[in-house]
Subunit: 148 residues, 2 copies
Amino acid sequence: MTPMDHALEQARAAAALGEIPVGAVITDASGAIIATGHNRTEEQQNPAAHAEFIALQAATAARGQKYLSDCTLTVTLEPCALCAGAIAAFRVQKLVFGAYDPKSGAVEHGPRVFSHATTHHKPEVIGGVRDSDCSALLAAFFADLRNA
Amino acid sequence: MTPMDHALEQARAAAALGEIPVGAVITDASGAIIATGHNRTEEQQNPAAHAEFIALQAATAARGQKYLSDCTLTVTLEPCALCAGAIAAFRVQKLVFGAYDPKSGAVEHGPRVFSHATTHHKPEVIGGVRDSDCSALLAAFFADLRNA
């Protein structure tokens, strides 16, 4: 399984709990998974409980160190401003994301957090990985909500 | 004491602990303080442990509700992208900040998080409140570091 497979698995776990299906995984330089996360905003009643943010907190706690400079964060959806800001703050080496998010994304859309001199750390970014698989999960979730 | 007085008190508490002196306070519609926070990135070895973020988490936890739509967040420094994204996510009604931060700010500088259609909630923003008091704390902290 690739990191994106694991992130998709996390996204499905979120959907099963009635959470918007976004999943994330953090891998180290050897490709080993050091943390995972999925959206828990409803469960925790916490608008910051996004997949990426939970994974970042778990990774830094697991390692007992502040920065994730040798790590890749793989997430099924383009991060929002909060998560993009966190990715910069944690000095993540590489960001891989699935579906583009023209509605709320802050990497390739809107604030484009990594495109400014005021963002001091900029990860390598690869977007659109397994875009259709990641988007399909989200589309199915919202279709179910509308038909509920 | 005004909310900014309380935020400055929080910032001084951070400095006393060797943390970059930034403090925040969240008040409800009646002006009552429902949460405070100061920078704890060193103590927690957590790059997301910013004053605003800690205060937001504490406020939503204290209330047991997801959004802070009737609240004002007062902070001594212009928020970064992470915190601006969180302020949007928590639907804070009003943001009051002290010192402008041309180096890392994301409200009036760089990503200008609240200036995009992809940021769905935009607080009322008042910047530069007690700017010189807030800046002086930061300047003194960094001068001490350089002379240490």
